[in-house]
Symmetry: C3
Subunit: 273 residues, 3 copies
Amino acid sequence: MVKNPGIVTFLSDYGLEDEFVGVCRGVMLRIAPDLTIIDIDHNILRQDIRHGAIILQQSLPFLPDSVHLAVVDPTVGSGRRAIAIETGWGEYFVGPDNGLLIPAADSSGGIRRVHEITDEAFLLRPISRTFQGRDVFAPASAHIAAGVDPAELGAELKIDDLARIEIPVAWVHDDHLHAEVLQVDRFGNLQLNLGRPQLGQVGLEGEDRLEVRIEGHRLNLNVGGSYSDVEQGEFLLVEDSYRYLSLSVNKGDAAARLRARAGSTAIVGPSSG
Amino acid sequence: MVKNPGIVTFLSDYGLEDEFVGVCRGVMLRIAPDLTIIDIDHNILRQDIRHGAIILQQSLPFLPDSVHLAVVDPTVGSGRRAIAIETGWGEYFVGPDNGLLIPAADSSGGIRRVHEITDEAFLLRPISRTFQGRDVFAPASAHIAAGVDPAELGAELKIDDLARIEIPVAWVHDDHLHAEVLQVDRFGNLQLNLGRPQLGQVGLEGEDRLEVRIEGHRLNLNVGGSYSDVEQGEFLLVEDSYRYLSLSVNKGDAAARLRARAGSTAIVGPSSG
Amino acid sequence: MVKNPGIVTFLSDYGLEDEFVGVCRGVMLRIAPDLTIIDIDHNILRQDIRHGAIILQQSLPFLPDSVHLAVVDPTVGSGRRAIAIETGWGEYFVGPDNGLLIPAADSSGGIRRVHEITDEAFLLRPISRTFQGRDVFAPASAHIAAGVDPAELGAELKIDDLARIEIPVAWVHDDHLHAEVLQVDRFGNLQLNLGRPQLGQVGLEGEDRLEVRIEGHRLNLNVGGSYSDVEQGEFLLVEDSYRYLSLSVNKGDAAARLRARAGSTAIVGPSSG
């Protein structure tokens, strides 16, 4: 049984421009009228499983122990499986078997068991081949939040058979690190796949200044604890609230100034100025 | 009495860029603090009654039987009436008398009775002439969800006197169908006002390939069951989750590639290649 | 004790493009699983304290008497204080001590007492220096909504020591008023910091036509009660739903046509045509 019955968190790449998310909410409330739905983020980059997996994993420590519905589903309708995961900490993850759920489940005590979602008694029929958030994942989530055991939804699967994805890790080359922008927030902060401890791999852990090369720019900048550690309009590297390093501008938009985006390479090394 | 007391679904063209929707939510929760509000879609094309009517009708089967608040209101303040409809299936629709609510109400067992919303005891005073979502429709919806009978809100109206709109239907010309894009979703899929059965009107029901002319493009494409029935980047016609045909690109954005949008004409006929 | 326990309203400049708002929701529901969160507006102009203060104050009359969480926080991490205000009408405001909360609190019976938020027993530890909406303001709001007295969160502060901001007021010059666009809504309506009564300061209160100079344009237009008082596509000044004058176009987008935006100067005087 889920620890917080009656709560479903919901993350997707459906956007808020149309009724997709609203219809999924409706489907869940039809099944469980007292359900509380927490929208985490519906602006995952379109069909970008990796981006969805990163945000789900990052957000998880701040969410109630509950049922987590996540849909980024570029191969919907092609036969990929629908799954419900129970974790070591007693949380549930519902979504497509494409790797999206795994990093978050690993952060929740690991996968204890996983069931395929196939029993149409719990789903909307006919199941469309283009919108299974509505027809499969939303109803399955609502039923689990209402107390249904995932074993009722379908056969148990082998954990080793689940699809997995790779989250890129910064790597060392000579005296610098090749990092990547994981995501850009509304303020234009560029979150790198790099924390302060990893700087130690190239002997830069205690440095106050570093050099970052990104999208044709070469920046020598301060490493700070908050945006206001530098003057307005200046670049800095700051430890963000998830303990990643973020390439930011105090009261400015780093992404716009550098024309950088999720996936941009950032080479971090010793400062030359 | 409404079947799911305490639930209001909410659709509008207010957008989420400012506080309009939030203020309507606040008004409803002031009246009924335990209310559950389900946001369906607030990005209806600005002042486009027809678009709102289509989305409301399409979404309805997936929503709890409850009170449905819908506001697309280009003639606010001009004297158009505010109405509350009770349907044959015991659902309620609240909004302006401009045709917005009718297709959905027709899908809910038809209109059983309709009342004008005039009794200021249930509304916010003074009623502004520019934001009646806040002053009229939101409070009326909250009161009905809390158990107030629509008859308390104002006089009964004749059903035949309600304003109506026309939802465009695809029409036959020679061996092809003149269809129209009903809406574009976040992924750039172009939903046509055309289902598979209608293809039979021009003898194309069983065809695997069709020709579509749209915005100066002439496409010969597959008719598929899911996006992945064609190669990545290829166009196809796919039955969408509402059983309309959608002009789509597997893992791509059909609207962007064709510069098409809601209202674009799409001529569907036999394939020439 | 708050009048409507279990409700938090939430306004911010976090946007809905990423998971910031969702994570704050999660934090609150972890603390108080039965909490109702009302999203007012998360698209406050980035880091624009004044814009946030105006929207919060305008929205307040339409919200339940409850805990109001507001975050526009350009100096996060720099040592600015976190505060919880109790007002004369028994409402609570939680946010940064940068002036954001003051106009709304003044509209709620004034500030009765204010406490700094410092006791980490009620907050997320470690407190990040970049995302205190998540670590400080959201948890403090949830605790107050659940019945915790602000005095438990930290030391009482002197009301006179709080940071304040200035909301611009239209000013008289000769026979005209220098006003400013407070905000632009989704429909392109330009809300001025000017109500009808203030027109009396230059003897224009009863005028049916006025001249407005804005962004290089000189408009002679009607003063109306609703958009439809002028022909489609025509400009007018209309009293908006907050009783400010709004420079609008019937069924059109005034902001786009005038290239005006929040902060644009609008000089309002007697009509010359």
